[in-house]
């Protein structure tokens, strides 16, 4: 659009009028009001409702719901799953970002698209593919059964489904950041005699640490909160293969609303912590990107 309009090359002695490029005050306030009302109704109200319903019958019952044996087992399983999934996907994210951002090779665009692929796939389908692989009629089902190994309706299946849905988180944060920073600093470190691992640890890691942490936080939030994919592979065995979101579902379907919302409130608190950390880290990453843009590498996040 901009080329269609002539912009004077010499600045004219005309005071820049803000009124010309903004809306009348009434419109401004009306738009703010509409935005706040929409966000309040659709976003804030559900969040508030979780805590209100959890505490509806008093703090005593709320706490009792949380220390219930099955609830604690669900918390343990959720933590265990995140503890396995997040480090694995972090290592993958760093490796993929290193390969994609620091080198030029054929098929880079295809690889980047494939890394992002799990985001475009329904979580239910993510669960389904593992049922097809490890189920009784699946490719590996008979082999596993002969050896008495359980993947489906057991912890390994939950971990695999969670790995799938949280697969891109770390990589997709690191790739643009590392691309913007370029490879000059690493090349300089190598020229000065640093080894490969030393270069990564002393040069690359400090440059990307906030972006890395950002990806890890998002990955962890999703890993702990995943519902659809895990629900397909878990088998819903109380106290054994129920993660926190699945436990919420069971309690809710049993009309045990206080307990359902109590466990849900823990997940909501996790979401709030994730949001706060995310905002802080976003600011730090923006600064790292600005530094990269000032440096010789140039470029900015697309």
């Amino acid at each position: 659009m901009s080329e269609a309009v002539l912009i004077p090359t010499t600045p004219m002695a005309r005071p820049r009028s803000d009124a010309a490029i903004s809306e009348p005050a009434v419109v401004r306030w009306a738009l703010v009001a509409v935005a706040m009302l929409f966000l309040g109704l659709f976003l804030v109200l559900p969040l508030v409702a979780v805590f209100v319903q959890a505490l509806e019958k008093g703090v005593g019952l709320y706490l009792k719901s949380l220390v219930d044996r099955d609830a604690l087992a669900a918390v343990r399983l959720t933590l265990l799953t995140a503890l396995v999934v997040v480090p694995l996907n972090t290592v993958f994210g760093v490796a993929a970002a290193w390969a994609i951002a620091k080198f030029e090779f054929t098929g880079k665009q295809v690889l980047t698209t494939l890394v992002d692929l799990p985001f475009s796939i329904s979580p239910v389908i993510a669960g389904l593919v593992f049922v097809l692989l490890f189920g009784r009629d699946g490719w590996l089902g008979p082999w596993l059964e002969a050896r008495d190994l359980k993947v489906l309706f057991a912890v390994p299946g939950i971990v695999l489904a969670t790995l799938f849905v949280t697969f891109p988180f770390v990589a997709r944060e690191l790739i643009p950041l590392m691309q913007a920073q370029g490879a000059e600093e690493e090349e300089a470190a190598r020229a000065l005699g640093a080894g490969g691992w030393q270069t990564f640890r002393r040069v690359t890691l400090p440059n990307v640490k906030w972006g890395l942490l950002y990806g890890v936080i998002l990955c962890n939030g999703r890993a702990m909160g995943e519902f659809g994919a895990v629900s397909v592979v878990s088998g819903h065995i109380r106290g054994q293969t129920n993660t926190m979101p699945l436990h919420v579902e069971i309690l809710y379907n049993e009309y045990n609303l206080v307990a359902a919302f109590a466990v849900a409130s823990l997940l909501a608190m996790l979401a709030l912590v994730t949001l706060v950390l995310k905002s802080v880290l976003q600011w730090k990453v923006a600064r790292q990107l600005a530094l990269a843009a000032d440096g010789p590498a140039g470029g900015r996040k697309p």
């Binding site: 010309a20 109200l45 409702a49 090779f105 890394v115 389904l128 190598r190 949001l275």
Partner: protein, 275 residues
């Protein structure tokens, strides 16, 4: 002539990181997805087609696509207002509001699902006002749309914000000085410029809506043919050990996702050229 697959670089670790990336990608994503495609290919076209076009399945596609479209359209309209307000105006608590926009990303879907069902149920804070007006929300397609509005909003807002930030203020000033009213400037200068981003956000919200499960299953009521979304039908078929039926729906939904992914990539390419 030798074709160089990769340009030479003094930075080490290409073989190691690329090897690990490809191995891990294959194990976690590609081989499992291949299992779905091979399983579907193995059942034969007739059986596959019959499973994919069963009336109950067709009803679930209609519902999933319709509710996702409606949700994405509502989000496009209100997301534009939210993004505009957040970029252009300053008001108390703006940073907090900006952070809250990401809530649907961060809140586990099962939690949003039961919270929305509680709100819009006959006894809920919102449902008790709408029910007497003859507008039941929970356990109707409208409820599904509400859940998809919740889940899709950040996609629209986060795609639009950078586009609005990048708008050239001089162009707006020029339009104003040439006698355009503010509304004319918005419709003829601003909107065409941010349109690619708006459409991208719409497509992202739509794609997410198609696959969404957790936040929808509680509020939808899950009546076959009426409020049964396609991802739920996959789960139902799996529980009945109808693997062919589950695979057929999954392949159709997967194909829809890929088409949308393609559209989104084209839109993003367009919006980059636009700026």
């Amino acid at each position: 002539m030798r074709i160089a697959l990769r340009q030479h670089s003094v930075v080490p670790g290409f073989g190691l990181t690329m090897g690990f990336t490809l191995l891990y990608l294959s194990l976690i994503v590609l081989i499992p997805l291949a299992a779905l495609l091979l399983k579907s290919a193995g059942v034969g076209w007739d059986r596959f087609w019959a499973a994919a076009t069963d009336p109950r399945v067709l009803a679930s596609y209609r519902l999933s696509f319709g509710a996702s479209l409606a949700g994405a359209a509502i989000n496009a309209a209100f997301g534009l207002v939210v993004a505009w307000v957040l970029v252009r105006y300053s008001f108390p608590g703006k940073n907090l509001v900006d952070a809250i926009v990401d809530l649907p990303f961060a809140l586990p879907t099962a939690v949003s699902g039961i919270a929305l069902t509680g709100l819009y149920g006959a006894n809920g804070w919102i449902g008790r006002w709408l029910e007497p007006l003859g507008i039941p929300v929970a356990y109707t397609p409208l409820g599904i749309t509400v859940a998809l509005c919740f889940i899709g909003l950040p996609f629209v807002v986060r795609t639009l914000q950078p586009a609005i930030e990048d708008l050239d203020r001089e162009t707006e000033e020029a339009a104003a000085s040439l006698g355009a009213s503010r509304l004319q400037t918005f419709l003829r200068v601003i909107l065409p410029t941010i349109l690619p981003a708006l459409l991208t956000g719409f497509a992202l919200a739509f794609a997410r809506g198609l696959g969404e499960y957790g936040s929808v299953v509680f509020i939808s009521g899950n009546m076959p043919g009426k409020t049964e979304i396609a991802p739920l039908l996959i789960v139902t078929k799996l529980e009945q050990y109808d693997y062919v039926g589950a695979c057929a729906i999954a392949v159709v939904m997967l194909a829809a996702s890929f088409v949308l992914l393609l559209v989104i990539n084209v839109l993003q390419w367009w919006s980059r050229r636009h700026v």
